[in-house]
Assembly symmetry: C3
Homo-oligomer: 160 residues x 3
């Protein structure tokens, strides 16, 4: 089996879109491919720790507000459709669990075990005022140039 490279930009912070990204990433990794996922804009929320983290550096009022209003990690993310004021995601998780589909937490853990590279966009980090200690461990940090370098080596590049 030939191995090849895949990149996925995870721009969206919607539960369903992030889920799709990890399903593709896990599938490709299982087939022996190198996979790199770049989390940018709302997608970065998928990498936040679920608990509030005390950080030393001061955030601007706007950064604090964005940080407070945006979901901390996949457990808090909503659906892109039929969100029903937040009730859609738990219902979707329930039907998925009933069908023995891996949860997003499990998909993320599996992706990391399989060596999928998770990259946090440094520009988004700066804009939103997120500090590294607020994000899950084991991430890489890079910008658009690093993404383009990897995309040039890949044969499938998706924007989700």
């Amino acid at each position: 089996m030939d191995t090849s490279k895949k990149t996925i930009i995870v721009f969206s912070g919607d539960f369903d879109r992030v889920m799709a990204a990890f399903i593709i990433a896990n599938g490709a990794a299982a087939m022996g491919d190198d996979v790199t996922m770049f989390f940018t804009f709302w997608g970065l929320n998928a990498l936040r720790k679920p608990e509030k983290v005390r950080v030393k550096e001061k955030k601007s009022a706007l950064q604090a507000m964005f940080g407070k209003m945006m979901p901390r990690g996949p457990g808090k993310m909503g659906l892109s459709k039929m969100n029903f004021a937040g009730m859609g995601a738990p219902l979707m998780k329930k039907v998925m669990k009933d069908q023995n589909v891996m949860s997003l937490d499990e998909l993320m853990a599996s992706a990391r075990e399989q060596g999928v590279k998770l990259v946090a966009c440094t520009m988004t980090l700066d804009v939103m005022g997120f500090k590294k200690e607020e994000l899950i461990d084991g991430l890489e940090y890079a910008g658009v140039a690093a993404y383009l370098g990897e995309a040039d080596e890949a044969n499938v590049n998706l924007f989700i």
Copy 2:
């Protein structure tokens, strides 16, 4: 003219996004390319028959609810923007028809006549509890591994 392969993941169930997917698919097929469209998550709604289909297997209450609330086929799908509580899509269809743009139904028929392969995501089918008889005829059924196999052979891979 060289022929090559294109894949499109249709994740979105928005009328306008599905329309864009079929415009690209038809264009590529007209240029002699092999085109495979994978319908997953909300995108699967584009492949539902417009009428309610009685199925033998029992669905869970949640599956029945999702099935009831999600649009049955392209005729019921809304716009991603300016949906105006469902009025946006008919208005968009009207301006498109005025300009002699093919309708989504026509684009779907044309795609199939041109040999575009339409694949329904089996995981979504399981999660949503859709049965094959509820979807239009002539589909293939496959999962993420099949998608990745085709994407590896393609030179353009889009996620819509």
Copy 3:
């Protein structure tokens, strides 16, 4: 450094998604790549002049309505998430400016200076009734066949 080609379909008219598209386009152009951006559907709004332009040809009532309700240029576009009835985009612009991130106007100007090709989708133009004098100068005009021709030559093709 090898140069290669990138294409980006800008389908979305959301401020944040258009911003992401231009960040990638600028990054690739800075690395010496040829970049072509195709603006279609809502994405075409990013190319509208900010002021109302008097046009000779008559628009249909629906076209006039769409033209009036859709944003004229990037300055009027909203966010895909946390739009807060239009207040989200200014807040996002503020946090970006605080972090010395280039504004969307600057990114667009930089892209054009770097030779990024901006293509307006002629079908969308027809449907929406936009005239060339309502869009910014220096655009090319083409349809799906031209897009596919360029995508065939590119090694990264994104749909945003």
